[in-house]
Symmetry: C2
Subunit: 707 residues, 2 copies
């Protein structure tokens, strides 16, 4: 017996060595429960599972339980033909009949109810198959995070209706701002070859409640709407459908000309309108539950209605009319800015606010969290709260375009929560961005949250093992934005790495402070967009050769001998006037503006004393140094706890933290060397002199940095 | 006890489900031996392993045994401090002392000797650490293929000195002619992040005897020779070194101008020569065992010595002089052709033969197997046998640029063996290409075989699971080109899939006929280079818009109302005059020229009767149809035996075969529809009419086909 036990251990050991933790399984690892008492309890409580439904979605639920339960419990678990004592019972109220006693009104079309019956059955139910599937994944999350399940009574429904991943993936498999390999969509091999990744992508998304995926880049290619590619997209939609996930595509506004042979793409032209109606009908013939279009128009060179003297509303409404008969929606992006003298900060608001109320009911305007572009910290976009008659979706960026690519460990929920909890004061105190985008503030039928995916064909999906946490968090927050960053980190860590508290506690703390650490070593005090030109890799605050003023870091920091920062008060661009008075008043007054935002709104003298009690220059120096120290602390933390997890990921993160530390120092040294040419002040004690001359940093070139 | 056994099975089962066979482990899977008698014998015979050496290479050998043996044997196996009865003993003769009784003269610097001692020890030895490591991998191959090991006496040494993978990988991670994702070299994250793949790549190569890797594309980028990239390359070299694998780089001939600031790259310019000497010295400061350069010069737009009125010898010798002090070599490619009226077939010979004897002793000329470009079937290059004073390396292409990309199952050793066994008659009968490239025919010190890698960051490395077999075969054949295609297929299948004879026999047969099947549905009877323009995807025999005559399929097939084929006899381009008389005589006579080569050398009337007894037109039709039938047979075979392997790879191959079948039909239909416009003859019975019109096939566009 002992010998056999030894053999068992050795076998497991060798299997683990040969099949190392490559990160592919994400948070659906289903490792055996390590808490012995709990494992015993689970084994006693759970006798098997009973799933009467036969739809593809119910098959997916069954498959997931079959995969997960034997692995989690380390013993076989039966698929039962009838519910028994201790059964896990999964089905809609209609399928389960009298087993479901409570009302499911709150569960809506995607939510679930999990409860324990007097016969110790765990009933997972909902109004729809998709709701039940979400419940199954939630139940497995309870097991994976080692929660007691003997007496459950959980109701949950999403606060947001459209919970979406935006893939900036091109047809040649390159990914714009992708740092985790190339696109997982292998267009060349579709539709006949269905990579296992497609199913696992759907499983992962369903497990966190994501219900839509935009397959193609917002910088769109009309060819993605041709028959060949629609058939390929349909093959993906077929894989995703059982998991409750709809496919969306990006619409290139000039497609009627490029693939339709028309002379114009004018949205008021009858031929153009008919072309889109025909095209949409064709799309739905391949993908009956097609979600609709995401559109980037008249922005950064993309064509749009303004090419024909029409408005964004004219363009969006034309497409909305085409998809309306099929219950599709249009997600129209507000990320616009043009080559004008106007502060780029102000332009989206100026273009879109006048259009409020002019969009069809199946149009949502997708607004980035901040007014510029996914910076490490931005004030919330002034459009939130400014378009009461229009559903606004929140667009977040998971891929770390401006946050160190996939080599920096940055846990983003604190950033996401910062904007979600920001108060627009649209209808007085408490009018948070969350209430704007969930539709509750203005009673909109459409509500949405989208994240620009950080997913590529790297084995672990996101490049950095911790990048998975941001994907996970997007889904969880879109489902329920009241979840705390700590709670999401906790459950993600337990599922992804281990339930060992010796690991969880310090690593959770490291995650929670990681975004603030990055802000410090990259863009402290409200600095923004001072990254390298084009690829956005590394610091380049000195760069001023961009073709347009607002493509240059110097445009954003405006450092001079007097001080640094962008005056957006009434004495400057007056962008602050776009906010509600309550917001504006706090930020326009240098005395009340938080240090974290000060250089977003003020040109501040170098020797001005901040709330911290230090002069601006000294505080900037301390922040940069604190950022570096913060990364060093992350390295130390990791070294002290990584023994509690598998060696492969321990090593991966260790190496990535070394890159992060190297680059944090580079950021500190290059930025301070440059800004010191304006402040003319010495580095305060404790801040080391830059390792190289400013010229050295300026001359660094990265022609093959991912971009 | 029974319960525990059950648990064990269930655990293994669930682990296997969660950790599916993704193909990552290649042929180093180390699954437990399934033959029960043999397993018992192994367990009794092998008591542990003893490795006295402490070098990095010996650590690699130890690591491999630690990884493999417990998994293969399903029981722990001890690392022993002293050799005992039944020990596996691995070390050089110097390390093992009197344990090594026989002479190791034949083992050379990389070979090994494995023998059983009277104490039933398995001694794995060699003159060098690398030799021992090769022996360890050979021993593990014996176990994986379930050979008896109770009485071993195996000596093996490589027949070829430089056994190399050429990566056509760019610094932006795109791979020229890559169909398995992007480059596994993640230049952006190097040198600090060392992907586990780098080690596993080295393990895989060492296991088959590959000892060199050219990291960068022959269409070279001078930046790969700058300090930043050399440090990155050095990090890779450090990973590979313990496995006996040297790093090579491609040299952009104009680098002295592009990164050196010189006004010229003239190889006779003293400054240029000095620049290369300095650069090489710098490279060796980072990579002390740097292998040397691979150079594509004055070919397809690449710069070279001819830009300065110098010869290939002038260029190669300049670089050779720079690397000679460090024992480096120059691999100078003979793949040249220019925009002249001369038959492209003849150009490499015409440029290089006059230079025979003019190269330094550390220069090898790397010659593609055929005179054109890696076609499904080519006659051997006439350069083989024509440059007796110069070491010639053989360049093969593993990546399937012209062989259906990574979606067609094509086992290439029959192609490789075809050229290796081809007789050049340089020194009379038996002067095979193999004897030319192994240096034995002319007693050259340098000998080499290179394969253009089919490796990318796809999880299974090569895209198609069977693509791994071609990588495997390159190593095995470079080590010993006398191995048969069947033997290599057999051992690869056993290690990669299963030892189950019900699977091995039919799949081996399928592999062995697969290349001939592809030739039939793609380019039967000596047709060549009739693929799509640029990307080479699919059939395009009609294409005639290329900027140069020899970039057009019509240049190669020359179909007209009289017949089809390229007359390379004395009445045509007379390319056949480049071969030895014995070769020329057979091929220039239509009566003796094999059907397989006939359209390579003759313009043949449509109604000419071939050796098969059919007219050319009918035979062409039958061949295309037979190719399609062959793929259908492959599908059937796979469906009948894939139950003997894991479901994941079974499904993958099944889907890929469906693509192959679809594309084989496309080739047949498009080519016959087109050629029929010349032959004006009906399709013979049994050959179905094309599914679409010729116009349909002509209008197909693939703007995002990988290329």
């Amino acid at each position: 017996m002992r010998k056999l036990l030894l053999l068992l251990c050795l076998l497991s050991g060798s299997l683990l060595t040969l099949q190392a933790e490559d990160g592919y399984r994400l948070w659906l690892r289903y490792e055996q429960v390590t808490d012995k008492a709990l494992l015993k309890a689970y084994r006693q409580q759970l006798s098997g599972f009973y799933i009467p439904g036969s739809s593809a979605t119910m098959a997916a639920a069954r498959h997931e339980l079959q995969l997960a339960l034997p692995a989690l419990l380390g013993q076989p678990i039966a698929s039962q033909a009838q519910p028994q004592a201790g059964s896990i019972v999964a089905g809609t109220a209609a399928q389960l009949g009298k087993l479901v006693t409570a009302s499911l009104q709150d569960a809506g079309t995607e939510g679930f109810h999990i409860f324990t019956t007097p016969l110790h059955q765990v009933v997972i139910t909902g109004n729809t198959d998709a709701g039940v599937l979400h419940g199954v994944f939630h139940f497995l999350r309870l097991l994976q995070t080692q929660q007691p399940v003997q007496s459950l009574n959980i109701s949950s429904a999403p606060k947001i209706r459209y919970r979406i991943l935006d893939h900036w993936d091109n047809l040649d498999r390159s990914v714009e701002r992708g740092y985790a390999g190339i696109s997982i969509w292998d267009w060349h091999k579709l539709p006949l070859y269905l990579d296992r990744r497609y199913t696992d992508y759907a499983r992962a998304n369903a497990s966190i409640g994501i219900n839509g995926t935009v397959l193609t880049n917002v910088n769109a290619n009309a060819l993605s709407l041709t028959k060949d590619y629609l058939i390929k997209a349909a093959a993906l939609a077929n894989v995703f459908r059982p998991y409750g996930i709809k496919v969306f595509l990006t619409a290139r506004f000039s497609a009627p000309m490029e693939i339709g042979g028309l002379k114009t793409a004018d949205p008021l032209d009858a031929q153009v309108q008919q072309w889109w109606k025909n095209k949409v009908k064709e799309i739905y013939s391949y993908i009956p539950d097609f979600g609709g279009f995401l559109v980037k128009a008249n922005s950064e060179g993309q064509p749009g209605p303004q090419n024909y003297g029409r408005t964004h509303a004219d363009g969006a409404n034309m497409l909305a009319d085409a998809v309306a008969p099929f219950n599709g929606i249009i997600m129209w992006r507000a990320f616009v800015y043009s080559n004008t003298d106007a502060d780029r900060f102000k332009q989206a608001y100026e273009e879109f606010k006048p259009l409020d109320g002019k969009f069809r009911s199946n149009v949502a305007i997708q607004v980035k969290n901040g007014p510029i572009d996914f910076q490490p910290r931005e004030p919330f976009s002034p459009l939130f709260g400014a378009m009461p008659h229009t559903p606004l979706m929140l667009e977040l960026q998971l891929t770390q375009e401006y946050l160190g690519f996939a080599t920096h460990l940055v846990y983003m929920p604190p950033l996401f929560k910062e904007v979600l909890t920001a108060d627009t004061y649209e209808k007085g105190k408490g009018s948070t961005v969350a209430k704007v985008i969930d539709g509750s503030l203005e009673n909109h039928a459409i509500s949405g949250m989208a994240g620009v995916a950080n997913i590529g064909n790297d084995r672990n999906w996101t490049g950095h093992p911790f990048g998975q946490a941001n994907w996970y968090a997007l889904g969880r927050l879109a489902w329920d934005y009241t979840l705390s960053s700590a709670q999401i980190a906790d459950e993600w860590l337990r599922q992804t790495f281990t339930n060992d508290a010796r690991f969880i506690a310090p690593v959770k703390q490291m995650m929670l402070s990681s975004r603030e650490t990055l802000v410090k070593y990259m863009t402290p005090l409200g600095l923004h967009h001072i990254m390298g030109y084009g690829h956005h890799y590394g610091p380049a605050p000195w760069f001023n050769k961009g073709a347009r003023p607002d493509w240059n870091p110097v445009y954003y920091h405006r450092a001079d001998s007097a001080g640094i920062g962008f005056d957006r008060t009434a004495s400057g661009s007056n962008a602050l006037a776009q906010y509600a008075p309550e917001v504006r008043r706090q930020w326009e007054n240098l005395r009340t503006c938080p240090d974290a935002y000060v250089l977003w709104f003020h040109h501040v003298p170098w020797n001005y004393t901040l709330h911290s009690g230090r002069t601006l220059w000294n505080e900037m120096c301390y922040q940069y140094e604190a950022g570096v120290q913060g990364v060093q602390q992350m390295c130390n933390t990791w070294d002290s706890v990584s023994i509690f997890i598998d060696e492969e990921r321990a090593q991966q993160v260790k190496m990535l933290l070394q890159i992060q530390l190297t680059e944090a120092r580079w950021w500190r040294d290059a930025c301070l060397a440059y800004f010191q040419t304006f402040s003319k002040m010495p580095l305060p004690q404790g801040v080391p002199a830059p390792a190289h001359t400013l010229e050295y940093y300026k001359e660094l070139k990265f022609p093959y940095a991912p971009h």
